[in-house]
């Protein structure tokens, strides 16, 4: 069973030290997190840069939307292949409008799905939290198995956390 604790720090350097010590003690990136009320620049606490694949979603959606738009327009015209005055069966100008809108709609729908998916929503296990985070405190949470939680608490204490809160209490 997983347990979660949070150590609260006032100073950014101490929070960064806590992360270093947790890393040295063998805790992996999935087990600890920094919580802040502000968007600190990436790497402030020496944490790994979060990877995301959000940019792929609108691209994939746009491609799907474009294909859909193309199939709707081309499909209807190919279904009634009447050649007039030697002109091509597929009329590109009206097709382009629907294909553009299809592309945009695909990009938008997939972006929204991507936002939900990449955010891992809904988050089932929230872990330890303290409302002082929104005041400006920096929280270091460790969410790990029951047998490793005590050591994590010791590390946070040793570094000088202002307060430590156990998520299960």
């Amino acid at each position: 069973m997983k347990r979660s604790i949070i150590g609260l720090f006032l100073d950014e350097n101490l929070a960064a030290d806590a992360l270093d010590d947790l890393r040295k003690a063998g805790y992996t990136m999935d087990e600890y997190e920094v919580l802040t009320g502000l968007p600190y620049p990436e790497g402030t606490f020496g944490e790994d840069e979060p990877k995301h694949k959000l940019y792929r979603w609108p691209l994939f959606g746009a491609v799907c939307g474009f294909i859909m738009g193309f199939m709707i327009t081309a499909g209807t015209q190919v279904a009634y292949p009447l050649v007039t005055g030697g002109k091509p069966v597929l009329g590109v100008p009206p097709m382009a409008i629907i294909m553009y809108e299809g592309t945009m709609l695909g990009a938008i729908i997939f972006t929204i799905i991507g936002v939900v998916f990449e955010s891992r929503l809904p988050r089932i296990f929230m872990g330890a939290y303290d409302t002082r985070i929104t005041e400006g405190y920096i929280g270091v949470t460790v969410t790990t198995s029951e047998d490793k939680i005590e050591e994590a608490e010791k590390i946070l204490n040793k570094i000088g956390a202002e307060d430590i809160k156990r998520g299960w209490e």
Partner: protein, 470 residues
């Protein structure tokens, strides 16, 4: 005590002060606020009465819906363009937009109101069976029979829904950290609402990282969709209704007008927040000047777009082109056009090059009022004129030329005046109510800047040094 901790404590106090002040302002229930809400509600009810009066006349006579269509276009051009003031400077990483970006994003919620009011226009616009020129090549040649006769209705509705949806997503994402603050520190019903809206936000590094990316992507999509909606509205609900009006520049002119009016809307909103909302400490010269420069540039652009279109018609002088000029510019709506020209171009140009006005708190908002009135008149000039063309929806009337005799100006009826009042009041009402749920000033962006901002003595003056995180 560790010197780092002492510094951290003083920074924490500074951040807490911003939190507490802005949270207190957000939760404050002033008498004036509810009085204004009551007044706007009365006007909105008048608007509904006006709408019911219009409904009694039915949808077959298009001319009576001209003012309604103009009001829809006016809100699309002003309120729904205001979020661009948050999007563009955020993408350019401009710091001055921080105190006003949330205000701009809140305007996107008015899109929902405008979307509902768009529904009657779908009934007003006839199907393509009246054989007007259109984007959709309906029945233009064998092979095009399968194009739906309601193509303009279908695609414009889809585009408008997408625009509104992206706008609301953008607002929600940008407000997530502030909603979490209200959830943790707020009180009353606002806290309950914030709790529901910010359920999963705890402020991990990953969440902040994703927030930035999502804001960037959704901002870019909002811009692309906004331009596309203006393209469809200006063609399907305006240009094609006037036989002989062939203007490739109109869609982009419509969108550029929206950028100008969106900036003006924000300028005026910002002025009201500073003057009456108690945000004097947060909205300063930086914001007025930043927006003022944009407004000036966009006013010049207004002239460029207008003249580029006008010049083609005026120089061409074909009978159709002269008829279009007569209908939209020199004929029955000449006085309105003069008003538009002065308020959207001459007034901003000459006022903004005048230093005492440009460098004041009241000057640029005054110009913004002029631009908003000018845009209002411009939408009336274009939409009322277009909807007054005889034969819309009738396949037996030629759609290739305007009648040779000059059409009379269509003056507003009492129901039109009610609708205008209701439309504008309803939009402001929706905006003001939304500010009770979402803080009108972006609290987390205000706190963020305290990390990067230092005031330093520089010889005999003091300068502000701003750091850039990337």
């Amino acid at each position: 005590m560790n010197p780092h901790v002492i510094t951290a404590k003083s920074t924490l106090d500074k951040k807490s002060k911003i939190n507490n002040t802005l949270l207190e302002r957000h939760q404050r229930n002033g008498n004036y606020f509810w009085r204004i809400i009551s007044l706007l509600s009365v006007f909105l009810i008048l608007g509904i009465i006006g709408f019911v009066m219009k409904l009694n006349s039915g949808f077959s006579d298009k001319v009576i819906w001209g003012y309604y269509a103009a009001m829809f276009a006016f809100i699309l051009t002003t309120a729904q363009a205001a979020p661009m003031v948050a999007i563009a400077p955020r993408l350019a990483k401009a710091h001055w937009r921080r105190p006003i970006s949330r205000t701009a994003e809140i305007w996107s919620i008015v899109g929902l109101f405008n979307l509902i009011l768009f529904i009657p226009i779908l009934w007003v616009l006839p199907s393509l069976e009246d054989r007007r020129r259109s984007l959709w090549f309906w029945d233009a040649a064998p092979g095009f029979e399968s194009v739906p006769v309601f193509s303009p209705h279908i695609w414009t509705t889809l585009a408008l829904c997408s625009l509104v949806f992206i706008g609301i997503m953008l607002l929600w994402l940008s407000a997530l950290p502030d909603l979490a603050l209200i959830r943790d520190k707020g009180t009353g019903w606002q806290q309950k609402v914030a709790k529901k809206l910010s359920k999963n936000w705890i402020g991990t590094s990953k969440q902040w990282h994703w927030l930035y990316h999502r804001l960037g992507i959704l901002g870019a999509l909002y811009f692309a969709m906004m331009v596309f909606v203006h393209f469809l509205i200006s063609i399907d609900f305006l240009l094609v209704l006037v036989p002989g009006w062939i203007d490739a520049l109109l869609p982009i002119t419509h969108a550029a007008n929206a950028l100008q009016a969106g900036v003006a809307t924000m300028m005026l909103t910002m002025f009201c927040l500073r003057k009456f909302g108690g945000y004097k400490d947060y909205i300063g010269y930086d914001q007025v000047w930043g927006l003022g420069k944009l407004l000036f540039a966009l006013s010049l652009l207004w002239f460029w777009f207008w003249f580029s279109s006008f010049n083609v018609f005026w120089y061409g002088k074909k009978p159709n082109e002269l008829s279009v000029i007569d209908l939209l510019t020199t004929g029955p709506y000449l006085i309105i056009f003069i008003g538009v020209f002065i308020l959207n171009f001459v007034f901003p140009l000459f006022m903004m090059i005048w230093n005492p006005v440009r460098r004041s708190f009241w000057g640029p908002p005054l110009i913004a009022v002029g631009v908003i009135i000018g845009t209002f008149l411009d939408r009336i000039r274009l939409y009322v004129a277009a909807y007054s063309v005889p034969g819309i929806g009738d396949p037996n009337v030629s759609k290739h030329a305007l009648p040779t005799n000059s059409l009379p100006a269509h003056l507003p009826e009492i129901s039109d005046i009610f609708i205008m009042l209701g439309y504008i009041s309803g939009s402001i009402l929706v905006f003001m109510l939304a500010t009770k749920i979402i803080p009108v000033i972006n609290i987390w962006e205000q706190r963020e800047v305290t990390m990067y901002e230092v005031h330093k003595k520089f010889h005999r003056t003091e300068v502000k040094i701003l750091g850039k995180p990337d």
